[in-house]
């Protein structure tokens, strides 16, 4: 912990970058977040190393989505800060924040598709915004390719309102990875998906890590898939990360709430 302390006190480098230990992509330090009287996050510090998959477990309403929104600067902490590759994303605004977000892709819990746009336009959106040099033909090809990854061939012309929840979620996945970002945040990517697609999403997260060194943060309720894909698992309870360990060690955790949580999957023995 001591080297963390000296780092926070060190003056920022001239280019506005702060020093982060090698191999870290995101570092959250002492995050507190309140909504009125609701003190959701109560001092969260967690590191996300490059090219790893971290799964965040926790009961519903425990603040997992709120934590994830801090990582990409959608919410600002009341105290503490989030560094993304040395940039304090909690203090950015305007174009600097927009630029910092180019590193990210995010899958939202309820997909958050633009309901005024067709499926094809939804997935094409990040391409049209950030790759203006691409022709419409190239865009259409990439969109079709990403949709096919999730078994959504030929759905370009459909509108989100006409899709099932699971299909919307898969469109959300396609949209999040269409720019092939280095960090992908998944907010319950497989909740409500069928087992085959769930397994497919797990595989995709694993493959992206191996091939492209993608850093993934995954919120999940699916303990089975968490143990499959995670390099480390963090447990969020009462606004704090109470455990953060590799899956093999986490199984033997003594934390009573986590034990309850895990017993739903592994049985109580």
């Amino acid at each position: 912990m001591s080297d963390v302390e000296t780092e926070t006190r060190a003056p920022p480098a001239p280019d506005g970058l702060e020093t982060m230990p090698d191999g870290l992509v995101i570092r959250a330090q002492g995050i507190h977040k309140r909504f009125g009287d609701n003190h959701v996050l109560r001092g969260i510090s967690i590191d996300f190393p490059k090219g790893t998959t971290t799964v965040i477990l926790g009961g519903s309403g425990s603040g997992k989505s709120v934590l994830m929104k801090h990582l990409i600067g959608l919410l600002k902490p009341d105290e503490g800060r989030v560094l993304v590759e040395g940039i304090n994303i909690s203090q950015l605004s305007g174009t600097a924040l927009t630029k910092a977000r180019m590193k990210f892709g995010m899958v939202f819990q309820w997909a958050a598709l633009f309901d005024s746009m067709s499926v094809g336009d939804n997935v094409a959106f990040p391409l049209r915004e950030h790759h203006r040099e691409l022709s419409e033909k190239e865009i259409a090809e990439r969109v079709a390719e990403k949709l096919a990854l999730f078994g959504l061939e030929g759905t370009e012309a459909k509108f989100p309102a006409d899709l099932s929840g699971g299909m919307r979620k898969r469109v959300g996945l396609a949209r999040a990875i269409v720019l092939e970002p280095e960090i992908v945040l998944y907010d319950e990517p497989t909740t409500g998906l069928d087992p085959i697609t769930t397994e497919y999403v797990d595989e995709m997260i694993l493959r992206a890590k191996e091939k492209l060194q993608v850093t993934s943060v995954v919120i999940s309720h699916d303990i089975g898939s968490a143990f499959n894909i995670a390099d480390s698992i963090a447990f969020l309870y009462e606004g704090k990360i109470v455990e953060h360990k590799p899956p093999s060690e986490l199984r033997h955790s003594e934390h009573p709430e986590l034990k309850k949580f895990l017993s739903t999957w592994f049985g109580r023995n």
Binding site: R101, F114, P126
Partner: protein, 277 residues
Amino acid sequence: MTTESAENTATTPVLHWVRLPFERIGQGVIDLFVEVGHLTLLAAGGMAWSFRRPFRPTLLLQQCEYIGVGSLPIVLLTGLFAGLVFALQSSIAFAKFNAESLVGATVVISLARELGPVLTGLMVTGRAGSAIATELGTMRVTEQIDALESMAVSPIQYLVVPRVVALIFVMPMLTLLFNYVGFLGAFIVSVYQAGINEGTFMGRIYQVVDIVDLLGGLFKSACFGGVIGLVACYRGMNASGGSRGVGVAATRTVVSCSVSILVLDYFLTTLLLMVFE
């Protein structure tokens, strides 16, 4: 999500009822200043973002079409009937002084200076302002605005700027049309119903009405357009609490815009009178 209602349970009932109105008024005044502050910030952000690339002409045109075409029928209808009834009332009143010849000029000046901008503003508030608040509010509560931000696109630039700029452009055009059909209505009533001579009616208008009357009114309507856009976007962007929150955002947009238009009208009119008279 806040629990304001649970305050004051400790005070005695009498004291509570004495304090309550003051607290409510005080809170209202504080809220008003806070919201004006937020609106100013949104306006400043909008200004900054509207000069940054990428420019979004397509979105702007889409919004102009949506707001302009959508509001056109109701603006034409209210304009026509405002002209009809205003001419009817003034022809009766002016007849008492044998001054019927002034009906046309009176109606046209009133339309150009006040009725056109204010009534168009109120109609556009009801039609486009509430629609914008509903649309952006829905996008907020379904996390579409978060999604936009997560894809490194500024919602101010993508959503707010096109709507506010479109309203600033479209409002004067709608006001002009309102004025025109209002004038037609007045003409019909005066000439065919009240029997005023057509030449007198038009002659007095040429004599009395100045282009400044019209331009001043159009300037005011552009200001109203900006206010409607900012308030509607602010309410929508800050909606919370599911579909009920979206409804609240739309209702509050209509209330705040209507009040703002009437209050702002007084100050803008004062300003215009200082400059031009």
